[in-house]
Symmetry: C2
Subunit: 432 residues, 2 copies
Amino acid sequence: MSNVIPLEPKGSPAVSIDTMMDELGQNAKSAAHALGVASSDQKDLALVKAAAALRAKSADIQAANAEDVAAATAKGLAEPLIDRLALDSARIEAMAVGLEEIAKFPDPVGRELDRRERPNGLIISRISVPLGVIGIIYESRPNVTADAGGLCLKSGNAAILRGGSESFRSSTAILECLRDGLRAAELPETAIQAIPTTDRAAVGKLLTMTDTVDVIVPRGGKSLVDRVQREAKVPVFSHLEGLCHTYIHAEADPEMARAITVNAKMRRTSVCGATETLLIDKSAAASYFSDIVTDLTEAGCQVRGDQQAQDLDSRVTAANEEDWVTEYLGPVISVHIVEGIRQAVDHVNRYGSGHTDAIITRNDAAAAEFIDHVESAIVLHNTSTQFADGGEFGMGAEIGISTGKLHARGPVGAEQLTTFKYVVRGTGQTRP
Amino acid sequence: MSNVIPLEPKGSPAVSIDTMMDELGQNAKSAAHALGVASSDQKDLALVKAAAALRAKSADIQAANAEDVAAATAKGLAEPLIDRLALDSARIEAMAVGLEEIAKFPDPVGRELDRRERPNGLIISRISVPLGVIGIIYESRPNVTADAGGLCLKSGNAAILRGGSESFRSSTAILECLRDGLRAAELPETAIQAIPTTDRAAVGKLLTMTDTVDVIVPRGGKSLVDRVQREAKVPVFSHLEGLCHTYIHAEADPEMARAITVNAKMRRTSVCGATETLLIDKSAAASYFSDIVTDLTEAGCQVRGDQQAQDLDSRVTAANEEDWVTEYLGPVISVHIVEGIRQAVDHVNRYGSGHTDAIITRNDAAAAEFIDHVESAIVLHNTSTQFADGGEFGMGAEIGISTGKLHARGPVGAEQLTTFKYVVRGTGQTRP
């Protein structure tokens, strides 16, 4: 079994993209079989050794990263993208610590999820097993190489990684460390592979490899996720947008509502859990909407609203239909004044993206009604939508967030990268 | 909200198939929202009242069925298909009892699957919720209308049913009883709808309705399932084939191995859990393969085998490569003599369909190795592959069996027709 595929072949490649990807897929499938039966100790050793390799090779990684950054700067890449791309020793240390954290979590594989004994004496168990092969397609942040590779390894899945072309050298250097870990634990190196070309056709091929790839996880902007969702024949765990709402109910505590709103919108505006639309009951708005506008404005946020919101506060500019379906990912919020829970729920279910939505209220019955009726992956009561994150949920790490309903929903951690098999134990029973 | 779509429109239909199906989908989605928040009592009442309606209208159903049977007979449908289609009072009573059984099961919706408190005081729960809208496509057996409709209702999902054209009148009469139940429980009638035409284009449309349909479950022969798997844009829970294996290990109890083999193959040859290939260790074969051939032959089974099997017993005819991938669904078995677990596992993973496979052995370590390495949805030790069935697994009923890895695997019961949402309860926490 060879994995010496030339990196970035110059000129006409020796093998076609199709052939190369098929080989990558077959290698991954074989490795997945070996990983699926590897012990917890073996997998954890690989993670810890990979962390050690990241520290030992920190200078090499930074050198590779400097080349990526120089090339990206020369290409005129925007400052925030350069920032995401850049690695220093602190960021590399954070990756190493991340892998060690993953190692400490319990093994999601081999757990007995359910067990029942039948009247005929058969014992039927559901045992968690890895999904198999996970394809991860991401953009400029090279740390995803370590995070995603580590999560797949922990959950016994082989990973096929496809990072952004800007971070190609950095990701390759990080991958080398992961492979050091695999070798140290006597696990197949092909358990974590990267697509060795930046040719976009390779992604197109990956999305259709239903024989060897079990799930694709795209991590990146809307255009990437949209392409993956449209083209993939392989199942996808993803969210296209985080069009999150915070709803201030008539019986909300005003101070709490103000604090949560400004946090939900402004803590970080670029994350998918940031609130994009504020829904507020008419009576609450009459009492303290202007305070909220002050809070938001002082934090640097532009406020757009419906006619009633504009009438209540002159700093509010007009929102149109487009605003209800816009994920600003920046310091802008849209406001819609509602009369009661049903109007709030209808707005969320109609315009939202099924990601994360919150209600602020002292009335538990109202909270329960909102929670029952809102059809999103995450529904919160009296807290900030910015908590929509695998780390905050105690998963240790996440490979992405899913707004789909099947299999994985919300933050996707190691546990959601497993499936199960039924194991039935008998003593010679035949079926009558 | 109207559901008075004309049944089997004659001549040019008043509405196009597309428009009709879109309306069906929207009706289902609205009904799903109502069902998703319905109480357990309400859903169970609907099931019990539907059972009562089946009994009360038994004569009407039989009359409708007699028309279907007459039309099928006139068309020259094969005897086994006519038998599957035919309903008598006992079969109708069995449907009613089936619905009552489903009602008695615990509600799969609203369960707290997981709960953790975070250091910041947030309480994070995973709560089971319905998937939404399930499309079920089936062939001649009209009882699927009651079974599938009942399971969807129990799990809070709206159902769109598409039965075989031969059973159209019977299924329509059964659907009327399910709707009686829904009405009695004040649930929307559109919670269970049937496609009111036998036009095949309607199925094509259903398979692509990703905005309104969450999952498709095909129940029927290979050509139906193959079409659904190829054309569906909506996720599918299915198995294309049940290419099941029974492996007799060197340390099997000979009597147990003989009894299980003949049961696994011959109890019913037409079910997906029937064994199609027998793998037997060389030493076991040398000792009692001829006894097994005798058992099978006396039960009416033809035995095909590799060269070693033919050499051991002259009643064995030659198996070729094609036999290892053939789901006979009849009284034929293929036999491959192996040397040890690894050869058996390799054969299963290479030629099997990931459905159900069994090992017979007294050696628990050997069983564990087989169970770990075989990549099928169901793996059994010392029992018959014919147990691959939701009823036998204690699920009460199944809507189908899935060989896919995502979400549902093995028999798909009410529980697998649910997903979950995260519910996060705070006391004003904002994210630092």
